[in-house]
Subunit: 353 residues, 2 copies
C-alpha cells in the first residue's frame, strides 16, 4: 500500500520574514510606518539624515543613552522582545525622571542577526513605542545594522524648566534621604528567574514583574523638580550602596542610612525567608530597581511626605540623612552598629560573583 | 657555566591597563576627566543621570545616531582606534551637515571586551573628542558596557535656524542636482586596503585617506541652509545610486544623472585603470563618501557655483537635474544611452557580493 500512496505535494514551508528577506531598507520602511507621529514638536521623524524637533522655550534639555547587549544585560530565555522594548525605554525614562525632566524624543540603534525573525523585532518596537508614548517620548530615528547578537542602543532627550533639573550634586549635610517604592525586588526577581523553585512559585510573580517591567518614577521626578522640593536625585540602577556613593561623591557629603528604615516588599521578605537569603544583599548590591533616591531639606520634609505619594501614587520613605563628607557613608544596622557602607553595586567589567 | 649562572629575578611584566583592571567606574572617571568642557551651553556633562544643555533660542534641533560594530563596519587591521574615533564622529557630523545644522552635543555608548587595552580606548576617545570639538560638538555623556567585540554608538544633536533645515523632501522637478567633492574614492580606498598591490602603492594613499578620514561637508551644509540655496540635501553614505533614490522617494520626483558630469578624482581614475576596475562601480555602488548631494532651483545655480566653493573651500559640481516622478531615475551614459538607475548601495543585511 505504501508504495501506491499518491504522492501529494508537500505543504509549502512558509519561511518567517527576517531581516535577510526584507533587507535593511525594507526594515526601515516597516518600522517607520509603525512609528508615525502626530506629536507637534516633532517636525520630521524617520526618513531623513536626522530627525528635526522643536525644543520648548524656557526649558533646558537632558540627554541620556544606554546600550544593552544580549547575553550581558538580558536573556531571551527570561524576557520577551516586547518586554525588552518596554524595559529599554523605561530605563531611559528613569534617567529623565531622576533629572526631573519630561521625556520628549528618542533615537534607537539596533544590531541584529540577519536571520532574526521580523515578528520579534516588531514586538520589540511595539514595547519601545508603547512605553515611550505613555510617558511622552517619541521615537524619531535610529540606525539598523547587522550583528552576531541582539544589541540595542537608545538615546533619549527630555525637557525640564530652565534651572530646575534635579542634579546629583546638590545634596547638603542635614538633608533627609528619601527613596521611592521598595528596593531589592528586581534583583530578587532575577534571582528567582535564574533559580526556579517550586517552594517560592507563589511568591515570585511580583518580584519577576519588578525585574522585567520596572516602572520609571516619572511623576515623582516631575513633582520634585517643578516644586523644587529636592536638592539632589539619582535613580537606583546599580544597587543602593553604589548609588549613595555616586550621590555623595557628586555632592561632596556623607550619608547615614538606617537599615530598619529601608523599604522592603512583603514578597522580598517572603522570598528571602523561604530561600534563606539576606534581603539586604538584594537591596544594597542588587540592581535595576529604578527607584528614585533623593535628598530633601528639613523644611520640605513634611511637604514631601504629605503630598508626593498622594499626587504621584508612589510611596516615598525617609531612609536616613546626609552628613558632612568627613563622616563618610554609614549603614546603621537594626542592632545600632555603624558599618561603613562600601559601593558594591553591579560593575559590568568585574569578574562575576 | 650555564648551571652556575646566577638566578637573576625576572623583570616584572607590566600588564597594560584594561577595563578589567580599572573597572567600569574607573573607566568613566578617566573618560570624564578627558572630556571636561568649557562650552557654555553645556550645563552639566558626564557624572549625572543625564547631561543637561541649553538649546539656542530661535533654533530647531536635529538628532541622529549611528552604531558601528567591529568586523561589520570596521577592521582594526586597517584603522587605528584614534582614526575610528575621528571617523565615527565625522560620519555623524556629516548627517548634521546634510541637514544644514551645527553639531552641538553628543552621547557615546561603548561596548568593550574586558581585556581591551585602555590606551586604545583613550586613543579612540581622543579621536572622537578632537573631531567633535573642531566642529563644535561636545561629548556630554554615554554608557559603558562589556561586549565580545568593540561596539560603539553615537547620538548627536545639532542646531539649525528655525525653518531652515535641509530636508530630503524639498526637491522639485527642474532643480539642478549638485554634489560636493569627488565620489567613489572611499570605496576604492577600502578596496585598496583589502587588496594591497605593489603596482598601485603610489596611487592609493589619497583614496585610503578618504576612506579612513572622511571630511564632513559642514561648511557647505551651513551655507546652503543659512542662504536658503538648496531645496533638498542628503549625505552620500551608501553610494550615489542609493542616495538619489532616497532623495527622489522623499521628494516624489525623478532624476537624470549624466555620467560624464560625475566628479572623479585623478587617484580613482589611475587606480581603476591600473587594477582594471570600473570607477562607476565605486561611484554608484560604493559608499562612505560623505559628500553632500543637493538640489538647487534654477535661479540659484549661478550663486551656488560662484560662491559656495569660495566660501567653503569645497568644490561643488552639477551632475544632473530633477524630473517629474513618472520619468524615474536615469543615468545618461557618455554614449548618450539612458539607463534606469537602480539602488544598489550597500545594504547591511544583503549577502556579501
Amino acid at each position: 500500500m505504501a508504495d501506491t500512496q499518491p504522492n501529494y505535494p508537500k505543504p509549502k514551508k512558509i519561511e518567517p520574514e527576517t531581516l535577510k528577506t526584507i533587507g535593511e531598507f525594507g526594515f526601515i520602511e516597516k518600522i517607520r510606518e509603525s512609528l508615525k507621529t502626530k506629536n507637534p514638536s516633532v517636525i520630521s521623524g524617520i526618513g531623513d539624515d536626522a530627525a528635526i524637533f522643536k525644543p520648548t522655550p524656557g526649558h533646558e534639555l537632558v540627554f541620556t543613552t544606554d546600550m544593552l547587549i544580549e547575553g550581558r544585560h538580558f536573556d531571551f530565555k527570561f524576557i520577551t522582545p516586547g518586554q525588552l522594548g518596554a524595559k529599554t525605554m523605561a530605563v531611559n525614562i528613569s534617567d529623565c525622571a531622576a533629572m526631573g525632566a519630561k521625556p520628549t524624543v528618542a533615537v534607537v540603534s539596533i544590531g541584529l542577526p540577519k536571520d532574526y525573525p521580523m515578528a520579534n523585532v516588531e514586538a520589540f518596537y511595539e514595547g519601545l513605542k508603547g512605553w515611550g508614548e505613555s510617558y511622552g517620548a517619541q521615537i524619531v530615528g535610529g540606525d539598523t545594522v547587522g550583528s552576531d547578537v541582539f544589541v540595542v542602543n537608545i538615546a533619549l532627550i527630555g525637557e525640564v524648566e530652565s534651572g530646575q533639573a534635579l542634579r546629583r550634586s546638590g545634596a547638603k549635610a542635614g538633608d533627609a534621604l528619601f527613596v521611592t517604592g521598595t528596593l531589592g525586588d528586581s534583583a530578587a526577581g532575577l534571582h528567582a528567574l535564574q533559580h526556579p523553585s517550586a517552594k517560592t512559585k507563589e511568591i515570585v510573580p511580583l518580584l519577576i514583574k519588578h525585574h522585567l517591567m520596572p516602572l520609571p518614577r516619572f511623576n515623582v521626578g516631575r513633582v520634585l523638580s517643578t516644586k523644587r522640593l529636592a536638592t539632589s536625585a539619582i535613580d537606583v540602577s546599580d544597587g543602593l550602596s553604589s548609588e549613595i556613593h555616586h550621590l555623595c561623591d557628586e555632592s561632596k557629603v556623607g550619608a547615614e542610612i538606617h537599615e530598619e528604615a529601608l523599604p522592603l516588599s512583603p514578597s522580598l521578605l517572603a522570598y528571602c525567608e523561604a530561600e534563606k537569603l539576606n534581603p539586604l544583599d538584594f537591596v544594597l548590591n542588587g540592581g535595576e530597581d529604578y527607584e528614585l533616591l533623593f535628598t530633601v531639606p528639613l523644611t520640605y520634609i513634611s511637604q514631601v511626605v504629605q503630598k508626593v505619594p498622594g499626587e504621584t501614587g508612589t510611596p516615598v520613605k525617609s531612609i536616613g540623612r546626609m552628613v558632612p563628607a568627613a563622616k563618610g557613608i554609614t549603614l546603621i544596622t537594626r542592632k545600632g552598629e555603624r558599618l561603613p557602607l562600601k559601593a558594591k553595586g553591579f560593575d559590568h567589567f568585574s569578574p562575576k560573583k
